[in-house]
Amino acid sequence: MNTNKRKLLTGPYLVWAVGFIILPLLMILYYGLTNDSGSFTLDNLLAIADPIHAKALWESVLIALGSTLISLVIAYPLAYILSNMGGNKSGTIIMLFMLPMWINFLLRIMALQMILANTGILNAILGFFGIGPLHIMYSKTAILIGMVYEYLPFMILPIYNVMCKIDRNVIDAARDLGADTKTVFMHVIMPLSLPGVLSGIIMVFIPGISEFVIADILGGSKVLLIGNVIDQEFSLTNNWHLGSGLSIVLMIFIFISMAIMNKYDKSGEGQMIW
């Protein structure tokens, strides 16, 4: 009785999901699996084997992986330090990390461009110390910096969230039992923070793989990513069938990589985090 009532709470969302997630998805499937004359075809999916598309997907994966990894390396210690600072500040800390994101994305990336440009602020500062100038702008390095900048909060927050939840008593107990700081970290904090890390990886890697605006602005459009290809099929070439087909491939690809990631989710008691 009680559980049935509770299940009902999911109802409104399910209706929503069917109407505004499943239905549009079916439309994409329809476009992806048909051609101009409306007959069934797999060509749009197989188009991923085209060297241009395959290379674009590969570049996207590399860049997304790179930015995920860098974000993780930066975010994990940060979340750990912040979670030790005491719980009553947590609301403020979350806000402080979200705050920059309330300035429009395009404006922030443009500001980053002003900093990284050949005649930009960073080079002016470095020049003062007699270093440089560095040619960061319009390179893959610039794209990576931009993506880490954009997605870092999405890595920090879930890890921080989980770390705050770790019961201090468990840590104290481990210490009482003679564990040193390193052991406590490796055997208590690390495993318990894993769900947060996975959430973070998902939240950075997934948007990262279809990203193209940052690559265009900071990379000078010199690298073709799978996001660019899909975008152009929709908005430039007007070939919605190919665009949808490639989107389906991208989705399948992401699902597979998430399935692999979940295999490593030892803490998850078999649940899927996504």
Partner: protein, 355 residues
């Protein structure tokens, strides 16, 4: 807990305050009769002109903007909104004429149509053969903007874009047809060629050039030139004017091999519900005072002879905005390539980007 409640209350306050404003928007959407839905490039009009039009005619203008002609076409085709009047560029107009998407515009009853310079109406004939479907709004050229401090020589040819001395200092247009102008004109070919050998040769030249290119940009190139980040850029004349205003080391040239001259025109799609109002609006845009206001704001070349005559001599002689006849005679207007060749072009462009 309390903190969150307060935060939520603050948010809710925002909601109620702003609620009224947006509510009005929707009720305005309901009344439909005496309105005109205009679809134009972003920031491509002096806004107060719209208020003037509303005051003088009593017609309410709903003004909507887009970024690229292709965006516009996608949104137009979806049929979500029945636009009455669209401003877009030459090749897209030709594509829409051929697709039967446009209505003929009745120019005979317009008071100010004669203000338009026949020279430019003739140019427009290359995409609108009888001047029936499109009324020109602004025009311009594509050329090289360069920094005289960084480029020691005089620039008069597209060839300089392959000079290794300027490696990593060149900016190319990040737009398919505009990028192909450069090698095609250098080869002496037409920018409207569909000859596969010519196109492949042009693509090969762009491949060779890619390692020298600092970035493929469209709008950002202006700022990169102003700040001195790049030595030269392939750029629209209007952007060049704006950049030269801000940095006096900059100069602009339309290379001797020739280039592209482009036209942005008003047109009425077949789904328009307020054709008469749309024609009134076009006529209004051609009026001298309105044309001047728009020119002062946008600073692209005007096809309106009457407006041109009102300008001061310095502006009239500005070769960036108004190139001389000899230069113009070497410039071509884009033609729509047709679906098949356009697809081929797209493929070449994709290969270049992936290279």
């Amino acid at each position: 807990m309390k903190k969150y409640a307060i935060l939520a209350a603050a948010m809710a306050a925002c909601l109620t305050v702003t609620g009224c404003g947006a509510g009005q928007n929707e009720s305005a959407a309901a009344e439909d009769d005496n309105t005109l839905i205009v679809f134009n490039y972003g920031d491509y009009i002096e806004r107060s002109v719209l208020d003037m039009f509303e005051e003088e005619t009593g017609i309410k203008v709903k003004y909507e903007e887009y970024v690229t002609p292709e965006d516009m076409y996608t949104k137009y085709q979806s049929g979500a909104i029945n636009y009455d009047l669209i401003c877009t560029s030459d090749y897209m107009i030709e594509k829409m004429i051929l697709a039967g998407e446009l209505q003929k515009i009745d120019t005979s009853s317009m008071e100010n149509y004669d203000n338009l310079d026949p020279t430019y109406l003739d140019f427009c004939k290359s995409f609108d053969p009888n001047n029936e479907y499109a009324v020109p709004y602004f025009w311009g050229t594509v050329g090289i903007c360069y920094n005289t401090e960084m480029v020691g020589e005089e620039v008069d040819s597209w060839e300089i874009l392959w000079d290794e001395n300027y490696s990593d200092q060149l900016i190319m247009e990040n737009s398919m047809r505009d990028a192909f102008i450069v090698p095609l004109k250098l080869m002496g070919a037409s920018i409207n060629t569909v000859d596969k050998n010519e196109l492949l040769e042009a693509q090969q030249m762009l491949f060779d050039q890619k390692k020298l290119v600092m970035a493929y940009l469209v709008d950002e190139s202006r700022d990169a030139m102003i700040s001195g980040d790049a030595a030269m850029a392939v750029i629209y004349s209007g952007d060049a004017t704006a950049a030269m205003d801000a940095n006096e080391d900059l100069d602009y040239c339309v290379p001797k091999e020739g280039s592209n001259i482009w036209f942005d025109c008003w047109m009425i799609p077949k789904t328009a519900k307020h054709k008469e109002a749309a024609e009134k609006f076009i006529d209004f845009m051609n009026r001298v005072d309105v044309g001047l206001m728009n020119f002062d704001y946008i600073y692209y070349a005007t096809p309106n002879q009457a407006v041109y005559e009102e300008l001061d001599d310095e502006t009239k002689e500005d070769y960036t905005i108004f190139p001389d006849e000899e230069t113009l005679s070497k410039c071509e207007v884009y033609k729509y390539l047709g679906e098949e060749d356009e697809r081929y072009y797209n493929q070449l462009w994709k290969e270049l980007k992936s290279y």
